[in-house]
Amino acid sequence: MAKHNIGYFFREGMSNMFSHGFMSFAAIGITVACLLIMGTFSLVAVNADAQLKTLESENEVLAFVNEDYTEDQAKGLQSELENLSNVASVQYISKEDAMASFQAQYPDEQMFQNNLKPEIFRDRYAVHLKDLHLTKETVAALKDVEGIDDVNAYEEISNGFITVRNIATVVCVALILILFVVSIFIISNTIKLTTFDRREEIAIMRMVGATNGFIRWPFVYEGFMLGLLGAVISFFLQWALYEAVARGVATNDTLQLIHIVSFEQLWVPVAAVFGGTGILIGVGGSLSAIRKFLKA
């Protein structure tokens, strides 16, 4: 390809974009709309996932120590518990601590505040698991430990929790996939429509002896520019939107608790996905749109 051709293709692609003003506007607008919807859902999903991970890590299993064990004997179990597979960490909670936290939970039952004695509680370990899916197996392993009388696994709770999280993940991934497919469908159709009235132009180029490669390049450039422009606009809109929401959450009394992942941590993948998707769709749409005119 001669050097002056590259510039020509580029200028041709650009000028096509502008001379098909309305068409280009529609294609870019639709790209932006689709990317924004996809992006917003993905970001909500990322945040929800981060939130859920935090909650999950707080989930614990209680292992009660035999009532006949002394405090020292009870403490002695720690290393044995820690060595079990799937146990992330264990924390010893004495009778006294258990009572204190129990009392804190029931400030309104006056009697609990004065009449309770630590002796009615048992020593216990709060056990954090690595993988909640294996709760059942780990509970069995904990129960097999000499000196552990009973395990409160909250099994239904953690099971339910995992299910909810799994469903949330599946729903999010499904929605994003659907939106992705829909976006590609919409954008490539738009580009096809915009190139539809160019078949004449292509026919003339073919008639005067232009090669298919030569005919293709301006369209590729045009698709590239359309996709890139759509991606860039979407990226900045997405950024602005994200920051606005994040600020809203941060200044709201109740919502402060929600930890919003900062955009700095996210912008690289967001930019990459937007750019990649935009360009892919733009170039792919253009190529598929002119393919049939190049055949005959």
Binding site: Y8, H20, E200, G209
Partner: protein
Amino acid sequence: MIRLTDVEMEYENGTDAIRGITLNIADGEFVFLVGPSGSGKSTIINLLTGELIPSAGRIMVNGFAVSTISGKQLPLMRRTLGVIFQDFRLIEKKTVYDNLSFVMRAVGASPKEIRKRIPYVLELVGLKDKALCHPTELSGGEQQRVAIARALVNNPTTIIADEPTGNLDPDRSLELMRLLIRINELGATVVIVTHEKELVNRFEKRVVTIDGGKIISDQIGGYVGGTIHG
């Protein structure tokens, strides 16, 4: 060199446009192709450019076997041709200048060549001051002259023109004919489809007459048919 051997063309809808034509045109010849409306003249032109594939027969154009040409060879064959279409086929979104520069680009001309050649060709067809107009801003005859300029711009060895004077006044028609004859004298093969009996009769050139998809006469000078001027 153009050589058609037993060529037949039946369109998809069953119309038998060409029913066995054998025709040789040597390099450097000047040929008028005449015949009534619907006789198959434009179909022959489209067969020569490779736009149509014949149902039967063999077509050679400037050394390429058009009837069996490959996708890679087709552009090379077409670069040897300058075609003026009956319906002009200009790009409405491009100016006259860009309509021409675009086809020079397409065959790899440099910007310098383009800047030199286009004003010269526009001058030839008398459209120098319409270079920046769009086709929709031109009269019918002016559009036809842009189509003519486009066919000339790449300096083809063979010029094929389908009714190049249908929208031109007699003065312009004569001028265009003289231009094509000059180009022919410089070595190019010229094939012209026309109804203009006046023009055909004025020049003592080879006249091939088609009717009903067959050659009914092939002689030097004299429009065959056309009772009003008979």
